[in-house]
């Protein structure tokens, strides 16, 4: 039973992708297959979460090799939450791309790639083996490479070349870290490593060095402060369906891996690494939000905000108390949903008005009041206005910071929230509130825009579906925060209770 539960979130997207390849020349069949696979994935991961929530951490050994020798799949609450939120995002994205992505890209393997990307994310979150983690990361990266360059416009190629270069280097660094871990401790199974580093007779002098390799590699992948420059240079170049998926998810998988390895394996000599992580977190927040303030493109503002929000997630790791980690987990889930939703909204705006530039847009509020409302809800949630989901994440992080007496980082995070509101207000003013700027020479007020054809209107309505769905989810998380807060609290306890993890994985 455990076996099936753990393997289903990997098998469904894999089989879906393979089936899609069989229907290469029939995009319509691909759409149906990927929708079904994605629906199955959402229900499978929801069931996995419910099961883990009631039965505790579960594991399975691939090929029935006993624990430290074979590849282990482990699901605790944190990984289940990651898998579930990524599958929900995947579902929303596939529904969006039915209308929001051009036919040419859909014909050239978009759907199988998205499913394989899901497979990579699921694998990276569920694996209990370091080298296997690397392999899943490579899988999801190569899918990202292809998705970013799919279509081959000039901007995309340029973004792709930066993305590919920096990620190949990051993967090499990760591989080196894994090599150092194996060379010093002689194992790759995360549970065995966790018990090895805590044994007094183990020589742990080199383990911190390996930890720095991991910090660097996952730092590049999750775009933290000195290593984030590739992100705003590449994330806005592909079409919105792709950049919403990649921008909403991939960096968070990096944060997930960072949290996982630093709570499980590199949880020794923390007095060295935690101040460094704290410093990184603070700078990431500030630089990201300042970068966003300077931008004049809807997607680029959002891209820089990804960087800024990563700082909050890393901040929870840096404080390293149960409440702080719970805050991080809550924040990751909230951010995956909100960020993707904001990207999708920018896509809906651009589909109607043909631009992402703040200077060219305007008057959206008059034409699409519902969309404006959806944007406001998401933007408030991102900035952390009380009833919305972002508030709870920031509240937990700030409270944990006060408890741990890290006042500087709390002050920084609160100030950054203010700047986030500033950025969101800028988008609101420029895109939704101000009058639509007159096109060169033509008096063109918002009321005289060319009427939409009936087909275009249904297209646009269908594009609203995922946006409304995600907004409802965000509202649900915000208004009924109790559930997710207690879930992430227990997930954080599981993270810090390494003996439980070790016991579950290494037991027969």
């Amino acid at each position: 039973m455990n076996k099936l539960l753990l393997i289903l979130p990997l098998l469904l997207p894999l089989y879906g992708a393979i089936l899609c390849l069989f229907f290469w020349f029939r995009p319509r069949a691909q759409k149906i297959v990927s929708l079904l696979a994605q629906l199955g994935l959402v229900s499978a991961s929801l069931y996995l979460l419910l099961h883990v929530n009631s039965a505790g951490i579960i594991k399975t050994q691939i090929g029935s090799w006993p624990a430290p020798f074979g590849i282990t799949l482990v699901a605790d609450l944190f990984s289940c939450l990651m898998v579930l939120s990524s599958s929900i995002i995947g579902l929303a994205l596939i529904v969006y791309s039915l209308q929001g992505l051009d036919g040419a890209r859909q014909r050239f393997g978009y759907y199988p790639l998205v499913l394989l990307l899901q497979l990579g994310i699921g694998g990276a979150c569920l694996t209990g083996d370091l080298f296997n983690l690397f392999v899943w990361f490579e899988l999801l990266l190569i899918c990202c490479f292809v998705l970013i360059s799919l279509g081959g416009t000039k901007a995309q190629l340029e973004g792709a070349i930066k993305y590919v270069t920096i990620n190949i280097i990051a993967s090499s660094i990760l591989l080196m870290g894994i090599g150092v871990v194996y060379g010093t401790l002689g194992s790759l199974n995360m549970a065995e490593l966790a018990s090895l580093v805590r044994m007094p007779e183990t020589d742990t002098s080199l383990v911190s060095m390996a930890g720095m390799f991991f910090l660097l590699a996952f730092g590049i992948k999750s775009a933290v402060f000195p290593l984030f420059f590739w992100l705003p240079a590449s994330y806005h170049t592909p079409p919105i369906a792709i950049s919403a998926f990649i921008g909403g998810l991939i960096t968070k998988v990096g944060v997930y891996a960072l949290v996982r390895t630093f709570t499980l394996i590199f949880a020794i000599n923390l007095e060295l690494s935690l101040p460094l992580i704290m410093l990184i977190a603070g700078f990431t927040m500030v630089i990201g939000v300042l970068g966003a303030a300077a931008q004049k493109d809807f997607r680029k503002i959002l891209s820089f905000h990804i960087v800024s929000q990563i700082g909050y997630m890393v901040m929870g790791l840096a404080i390293y108390t149960p409440l702080a980690l719970a805050g991080s987990i809550f924040f990751i889930i909230h951010n995956i949903l909100v960020k993707t939703n904001l990207f999708l909204i920018s896509g809906v705006v651009a589909q109607r008005h043909g631009s992402f530039g703040l200077k060219k847009l305007g008057g959206v509020y008059l034409l699409q009041p519902v969309l404006a409302l959806l944007f406001v809800l998401s933007a408030f949630s991102l900035a952390g206005i009380p009833p919305f989901s972002g508030f709870w994440g920031k509240f937990m992080l700030a409270k944990a910071g006060f408890d741990a007496q890290d006042y500087t980082i709390v002050a920084t995070s609160l100030a950054v929230s203010l700047f986030t509101i500033f950025s969101m207000t800028k988008i609101w003013n420029e895109v939704f509130w101000k009058k639509k700027p007159a096109e060169a020479g033509v008096e063109n007020t918002t009321h005289e825009m060319e009427p939409e054809s009936a087909a275009a209107r249904t297209t646009r309505r269908l594009m609203y579906v995922p946006v409304i769905f995600l907004t409802l989810l965000i509202l649900y998380i915000g208004l009924y925060a109790e559930q997710l807060i207690s879930l992430s609290g227990r997930a954080a306890e599981q993270l810090l209770n390494h003996e439980l993890y070790i016991h579950v994985v290494l037991s027969k």
Binding site: E138, F145, A160, G179, A233, H236
Partner: protein, 125 residues
Amino acid sequence: MEVLLCFVVGILFSVGLYFILHRHFFKLILGLMLFGLATNLFIFVIGRLTRGGSPIIAETSEVALEPFADPVPQALLLTAIVIGFGIQAFAIVLIRRVHQSFGTTDLDDLDTTEKIETPEKPEFE
């Protein structure tokens, strides 16, 4: 032998990084490849070198004869080489496409996404 290999790995890393920082596309590809090779060699060396002892267990005994070479780093290495091969192939094709559509071999010319928000035609004309 290990000392010599350490220096080889170091040199490969530095040459790889130098090429990656170079402006020319071709040097970038070379650099990425050398960097990947250096990583593979690094894993090989850090997994400890044991010469002449294969980890095959004889039929008559229960355990392998000490000293034997650890097979795991070599298995990791093989996987890493295969993955690296695929990714390098993709990178080569990507760079070729970039060269085709930009008509340049200089990475410094790839700066259009930084100014993507500028309108296609000047506003005041």
